[in-house]
Symmetry: D2
Subunit: 441 residues, 4 copies
């Protein structure tokens, strides 16, 4: 049920309901039916859809060529705590009207940063108190928290990777506050996105020292959180570039390498963002698969990019085909480990009606829901799994199985090959696989 | 001294000499002076320039839109062994006229593949015998060998990652032959480039099984080679895509992750190709640095790409600025570990004069030589190193040094930060660093 | 009805039928129902689906890293005319089994080029005679012909843009033969794709002279064809690069500029290829719209690219969302002017079963058919057109209408603006538009 | 001589002098020697280097992930006119200390926009009065003016292309003010950059109407300026995307097409930006050549991009090789027509010292100066021009010359080709051309 504060911010918009595919109501879900069971879990449980505090409540539409366009009615109070509470009211009104169960935040999304660390900490704590009440009243939960260690000018040369130790320490203090807030709110996970952990120029950079410092920093943060009773998962969110020329957590494979190098593999998984995948020249489904193969598919930021634009456009998902291929990976790998689907997406700078925020989230949720139904149907009803299994059947028995068990030497392989004729030509049948997916859309 | 076979293939072209920057002779080196000492080693020792057998002797200029254009006079004999010897004669004439000390090959660059593995093995062995004589007569050495497990149609679905075990085994047999040939020729290293180890579509692919199979395969190959007395280094050559939609060894970081996951870190390093770096959205210098940081900077394939074209254009290096930044990384990280600079580059399809091959290699060698001189001067004469050291000086003593030693907790960081004011703003001075490099070009 | 020659090449495959969305038969159309009327025309008339002779009959799967993989049974005869007839038999068997009405060719797709122009001309003429019979027997028609002036090594420096006049003349002779063949076969259009009309390096290129020469050449070809009674349309097919570093017909806007500069706007339109659009950093729908705005939307090459790969992957269409947005442009601009939908797409190198060619074309045709149905429904049933009309309503009357009529000066605009308050903020409502499209998929 | 206002903003920095290549002074020019004659003109005349008001005076370093970092001491006054004068003082101090002769501005770079058009106009007029005095006192001139019709939220849907006529009119009023200011200051040119003249989504866009409206708008602006006595050139500055998903003035060829379609070819030329060229997948030199071929090479914005980042990084030029190839085009096409080299570049967000602005401009000017010297030497001393002339010699006489004169028909070409043997193979010699350029760096 919608939780409305002192003031209703989204007047005229009620709770968004599932009305099915045939509905012409733009303010209804056509595919996302939260309690519908798919592949043994409700859609709800599969997705754990989360609202992103920053885009939805704080993102007024500024870009490098112009300031914000959106006059959010919850950003008016001069007193920072009053403003934080107004924003929280708007947040929970939105989340509950959407019928979502989760939200995500950076520390200074919740409340404006103050002039000193001590004062900032107090502000965060007060806001956390208020959010706790809102959570209790609504049942909404915190999917993950994080600290914004990239916007403030002090981080212009990096946070944990800063050449100046004083900045590293400041980032440490900020992360501590954010961890405390996350724990206090029962946050299920905690995210690190290294927006300025990378370089603008390799010429003025000691990359090895910077990366080692990040490793030390993450271990400290993890140790602290564990000491405070945090049992959730930590996520690294890979991104190849922007704002940095190069970000150290370039993509899933790079981040997994770092996680292992830092000795963090028991505590850290990945938060895969669609737009970051394509900026790194990967498909979304590729990044999911890489993470899943390493047992690190933790969470998803669901914002698509533009295939012709080279920056983070943060658009809401609308491509069912692409998302269906991603949901195939998700279903086959056992789903997200700890995380959910966070709409790290923003309405376009020129989408200035408040209702546009609803329309965008509805479209995004429906895209994922429909994609999940497609993927489930492909697995359950089509010959897909069977075709795929047969493609690799040579490793199920005989010499192939011996190979997989590690029982063959190169000489064994060679002897076997010399004893056989040229291998049979076997079509990869990609077009058939593609047609099968489309049949179920 | 030039080693010419029964027939001189590059008539009218003598040994290429160093004539210095002021020379107008297009057939002379202007910067590459093999015995000149830079930073404690001769240019020769820094670079170990190698000719790539495939492009230089076999690459007749075909592309997806047309067949080869180049009528190489050493490709005329019908008898495969005679043809192989002619090609070897041309190879060694070219290498010695260029004044290079090294070459690199794939198995079936040396001699055409036969209808059976047994017959192919015989052909390779006979050619190896001939190459041994040429090596002895000239002093030219083998930088690395490799097996072409991507051209033959049997590898259309991959080699070690093939869904059909029979093909995996065939690749094993082929790698064994190539390893034997490399060892017989005193090859200093052995390379794996996984041209079709990846996928065309994730839909028909079991990525986890395929990657695990590659891990098993590489271990088998390594064990075999070690058992045969091979002491050299194995290299993985990363490339993000092409011919596959996605190659598993996407970039340096991805490959390092795999090397560690397969347990190969004591035997494998990386062969970084410039064009593959930029296809993966990295600079060449970035990939060198990533490899160096992991102690895996083994060797270099020196072919540049085109910044506006999305495939491997394999052009000869000509960008002194870019290469100078790369040589900075090289000098500062102690140079290549085992490998050298292999010109994995081809003259353009419409560069059909035989002398063009010389012009191209001269331009490439001069680019690297000049870049090395620039990098050395930057290190020795400019304030570069000093500026860089000062940028990170906060980690040399005090709390910063404690941090680097791992002696601080997140609470320590936080306490320190709370005790300080806002950190001082320190310019990154990127433009100054850039100007310094240009001053020495 | 299937037209089968002396030998049936696609045994076991009959005519592909429309069975509707619920069919599980992979060898049936699920959406393409040739006689079904959509927006006043049959699907047939909308699309004029054409088979591409080169990929379907001649493309054996070679790429820069390996030779062909496909053993086409119609490529076996030693006699070139016999081989050409076999190929034609296979072509017409395929086209008629698919139920398509059209095909497209390059001159030397039909029959192998000979050693002299005179002999090549004879071969083409003989093959044309045979094709005429096949056309008559089947009712299949020629959508367009073209000359391959990019594969032969003589064109390595360009055809009409070649620095050597002798090559320009040779291209002229070849185009004349191809025009004669196209006319003889009743071809409805003629295409120019300038694969090597561009440059590998600007350094050795006189761009102005080369482009002017192309302009002269196209005028000569047009004049000749008109003098021979050709009434069809000429198409330029834009592509930004590959095989050249830069192609002069970079994209639709660039090609339109050239067409106008050469004075060819009454005779030439564009053939838009999906993959070429995305290589030029445009969407397919963008390129269609640009062409339509200039009255030059002539024809379509329907092969998609890979969003992460930077070359022409020539894949069959499978993205209904993207294609639906393209069909919106098509329907709203009055359809293709003279041309059709040519499957300039190839099965993957590892799709080696003959049936894969059918599966691929079925998937492609269904993608377009479904997209057309979606676009028609959006126009007919949704508020899309109404929303769009309202967005621009300010130009329908009053000062806005005066502006459109050209009746206002800058001072008028200024006076009007000074007289008004700040303009009202009006949301672009992109997310709503996107949701509407998805509702009809 | 430096023109310093009431307050010296760049204390400790005097006039930047030419000290030659051997100088170790980072605050001196090493190549830019303003009065040195190259190819018949002083460097000064070739380049007309201009400071960009927006980056240098107003750009405090904000990006999509954080606010500005730079505390410019000239941005402190509360009174807008006082602030504008302070800024002007800083501007002219900087320009004169650099020894530049020109500057460029957007209207609201000069002074903050007010709440109404009338008040904004007054502010601009007052600032223009002050600038006039500064120009007179220093001899510095205005290279071009322009109106910022993209930052204000009212332009979120475009300016001249806005779906709402009221916004179009507002843009008209603003352009009128900017034209008046430019004329009052003796501006030599006027620029249009259509930052939001394009679309975010084709779905909600009537592209034809929007482009036609732009055409009308540009004609109105041109007519007005001419009526006010403006004799300078108008420039269109192409850019493919950002902030829009697609900008209508995608690249040089697209813009030329529009200029011709709107009938503006006698008044408009192009302002080519390096970074915009590479974002459009072109080289800088390509875009210059396209503009020169159309007689529209007007001016240059000299900010390079990053080859691995997909947005406008606006970095100062530092690549001598790339710039030398561009200067070859410039020298051979007769130089810039009316415009100059405007440093539309910004110091990095983390380059926060005031001296960094000087270092950056010094590096940029030296890069262009050195490149000009290289290009001149290549033309004067090397075989470059001779080689290029010979490459196209077949069009200088005989049938080739007849072809160029337009005296041949396709049948003539064909007859000629039939009478000849296969054309001779002639190497393009790209590597030789590349080596020649490098020899002169
Ligand atoms: Co994200
Ligand atoms: Co993002
Ligand atoms: Co290589
Ligand atoms: Co390569
Ligand atoms: Co095509
Ligand atoms: Co194509
Ligand atoms: Co600009
Ligand atoms: Co720009």
């Amino acid at each position: 049920m919608a939780l409305i504060g002192d003031k209703e911010y989204f007047k005229g918009i009620g709770e968004i309901k599932y009305e099915g595919k045939e509905s012409d109501n733009p303010m209804a879900f056509k595919f996302y039916n939260s309690d519908q069971v798919v592949a043994g879990k409700t859609m709800n449980e599969h997705f754990k859809f989360a609202m992103a505090y920053w885009h939805t409540l704080c993102g007024t539409g500024g870009d490098p060529f112009g300031p914000g366009t959106k006059n959010f009615p919850w950003i008016t109070a001069n007193d920072p705590i009053k403003a934080a509470k107004d924003k929280a009211d708007a947040a929970f009104e939105f989340i509950t009207k959407m019928g979502f169960d989760y939200y995500c935040f950076h520390d200074f999304d919740l409340v404006d940063e103050a002039a000193t660390l001590a004062e900032s900490e107090k502000r965060v704590q007060k806001t956390v108190e208020y959010l706790k009440q809102k959570q209790e009243a609504s049942g909404v939960k915190l999917l993950w928290g994080t600290a914004n260690c990239f916007s403030n000018p002090r981080y212009m040369n990096g946070a944990a990777s800063n050449p100046n130790f004083d900045v590293v320490a400041h980032a440490g203090a900020q992360v501590k506050i954010a961890l405390d807030a996350t724990i206090a709110l029962g946050g299920e996970n905690y995210v690190f996105w290294g927006g300025r952990e990378g370089y603008m120029s390799l010429l003025n950079t000691n990359m090895k020292l910077e990366q080692d410092n990040i490793g030390r920093f993450l271990n400290m943060a993890k140790d602290y959180a564990r000491s405070q009773g945090f049992n959730g998962t930590f996520f690294i969110e890979p991104k190849p570039m922007e704002p940095s020329k190069h970000q150290y957590d370039f993509d899933a494979a790079t981040s997994i390498n770092s996680i292992r190098e830092y000795g963090l593999e028991n505590d850290f998984k990945l938060n895969i963002e669609v737009n970051h995948a394509t900026l790194a020249q990967h498909t979304f489904q590729h990044e999911l698969q890489v993470a899943a193969n390493a047992g690190m598919l933790g969470s998803v930021d669901a914002n698509r990019g533009d295939y012709q634009n080279g920056w983070d456009t943060d658009q809401f998902p609308n491509n069912v085909l692409e998302t269906a291929e991603a949901m195939l990976v998700l279903l086959k790998s056992g789903g997200l480990q700890g995380g959910g689907i966070n709409f790290d997406a923003k309405t376009r700078r020129n989408s200035t009606d408040l209702e546009d925020i609803f329309l965008a989230h509805i479209g995004g949720a429906d895209t994922f829901a429909r994609a999940l139904l497609v993927a489930d149907a492909v697995i359950q009803k089509s010959p897909y799994e069977d075709l795929l299994g047969k493609r690799y059947a040579s490793f199920d028995s005989g010499k192939g199985a011996d190979f997989v068990k590690g029982n063959l030497s190169l000489t064994d392989l060679s002897d076997y090959a010399h004893s056989k004729n040229e291998p049979e030509q076997i079509s990869g049948k990609q077009e058939l696989f593609e047609n099968i997916i489309n049949q179920y859309i």
